[in-house]
Amino acid sequence: MTEYAVRVRGLRKRYGEVTAVNGVDLDIRRGEVFGLLGPNGAGKSTTVEILRGHRARDAGEVSVLGADPARAGRGWQARIGIVWQDESAAEESTVQETVRHFARYYPRPRDPDEVIALVGLEEKARSRTKALSGGQRRRLDVALGVIGRPELLLLDEPTTGFDPVARRQFWQLIRALADEGTTIVLTTHYLEEAEALADRLAVIAAGRLLATGEPATLAGRGEAEAIVRWTDPDGREYEAVTAEPTALVGELAARYGGEVPGLRVTRPTLEDVYLGLIGHGRDGGSGHGGGSGHAGSDHGRDGGSGQGDDSHHTREGSKR
């Protein structure tokens, strides 16, 4: 048994003039939840299709559960589950019939009723597919993805169109599967989803891998400077970027004699890092572009001239 569920080296795929995947390397360990993050058209779905053997690659080496997906047989297929975002089961079939039927395709399926309970569809077990809501259908899709007791589960944008409650329930389900030892690869463009679920992440855009790492430390996020924001009594907003936020807050507390008005201390969010990586941040080079969130702010950076001392860069904005 190899340590890695998925190993990819130099993966390339072109569609005519368009290069969908351009030299991607991936190492996904067994038992890990791995997030593939990127904008639409980044090459995420193509990569997943190649991992499942549904699409031929143009170049590169791919090993999934120890086999080349382009050549692996049914025995290998039975060890992988996959859930796409826009699939459907037969409309006239009930949840229970569908799940039981799909169990027949596998050599060692899970118990269908258990799987129905796992995805929270017990009450709908006897409903026909056409009577299910969008979120319930997706849960049925997940049930069909895991009925074969997969070692590797591939999920393509699994929670698109979910309401917040359904999304949280889905996350619970994924965590439960991960706790059982299933390796999970999910593509998503919901950053909070990637942060909540993934042990490790890869950011992919225009077919290239931009960064790989744990959500908390991706692309230097862990070492990034903190942003301290406050409002002085006459309504002016301040924002300071500092490596020593505690010291700054201490100074401010002394200055205002206790509570600092409108105090907020933040680190760059995953979204800041992500937007910086894919080049959509306002000042991507700094590592926390686009995250300031001032209403209508067009503040300039005038480091040192504000109320912070030399170790902090302070930006000043005015409220209108």
């Binding site: 067994r30 499942r52 039975a78 699939e87 459907s88 006239e92 050599p107 060692r108 069909l144 030892g181």
Partner: protein, 282 residues
């Protein structure tokens, strides 16, 4: 990793074998049939359509056909039975598979270790069951209302059986093949019905075989429907009616040859052209 049993190699001793294509084909067939009968509208129209047409044609054209010992109504019983076989197989598969493709039902199946042959076998089972029911309805109607003689001996039924099985298999395979042609489910029924209608006209379903222009008959002879009609006339019309046929006989040998060849050709066509994804999806 806690679930060690899951991570053993698939070929390891003691690992349960993958279910085979034949058994999965039966399981799929049972499910297809169950789901078919849940769509009440589809069931009613699938079965009613050829009977309505039989009623119309056999009521409009009822004369005795000279030197044949048969009426035009009886001719249409054989014709409409052939057309009914083709509509339950060719037409219904052509349209329903295009819908399954667009709704990603096919891609979902492709994501399982189900062998593709099991899917096709399931469709063949569905078509066999609906085809037998449709044919039984048409023949009962034809025998009671238009006085068609059903075969009185085992040989007659045996002839009917092989013509039915070969004919419906051909039409089912062609239906699976044509399902890959339409770009969307909404255009599927137009794409499937037009060639079906054309074939019905040039195969002597609506127009008596001896009044069709020779070139049409020649074109029709390349496709299975003409031979299916001819075989069913052979089974259900008096032997004197063979005088209507261009060859002056029922030509069972040639029927078997053409229908058999289409089984092989249709299978190859399916294997070479079948799409699991919609056409426009790269």
């Amino acid at each position: 990793m806690t679930t060690t049993a899951v991570h053993t190699a698939p070929s390891a001793t003691g690992a349960p074998a993958l279910p085979g294509a034949w058994r999965l084909g039966l399981i799929r067939g049972a499910m297809e049939i169950r789901l078919f009968f849940r769509q009440r509208e589809q069931v009613v129209f699938t079965f009613a359509f050829p009977i309505v047409f039989l009623f119309l044609f056999a009521s409009i054209f009822r004369d005795h056909m000279q030197h044949t010992g048969a009426t035009a109504s009886q001719y249409y019983v054989a014709s409409m039975t052939a057309a009914g076989i083709m509509s339950t197989s060719f037409q219904s598969l052509g349209v329903s598979i295009a819908i399954e493709r667009e709704q990603r039902v096919l891609r979902r199946l492709r994501s399982t270790p189900m062998p593709p042959a099991a899917y096709f076998l399931g469709k063949i089972w569905l078509v066999m069951v609906t085809g037998v029911l449709e044919t039984a309805l048409l023949l009962t109607f034809g025998a009671t209302v238009y006085g068609v003689n059903l075969p009185s001996d085992a040989t007659g039924w045996l002839t009917f059986a092989w013509i039915f099985v070969l004919g419906i298999t051909d039409c089912a395979l062609l239906g699976i093949a044509i399902s890959s042609v339409p770009r969307s489910a909404s255009s599927a029924s137009s794409v499937v019905v037009l060639p079906f209608l054309l074939l019905e006209f040039i195969s002597g379903v609506y127009i008596l075989i001896d009044t069709l222009p020779g070139w049409m008959l020649t074109v029709g002879s390349f496709f299975p429907l003409k031979w299916l009609c001819q075989g069913l006339r052979g089974v259900f019309l008096p032997s004197a009616a063979a005088a209507l046929e261009p060859a002056g006989s029922w030509e069972y040998g040639r029927i078997a040859l053409v229908l058999g060849a289409w089984c092989i050709g249709g299978l190859l066509l399916c294997l070479l052209t079948f799409r699991w994804k919609p056409r426009d999806e790269r």
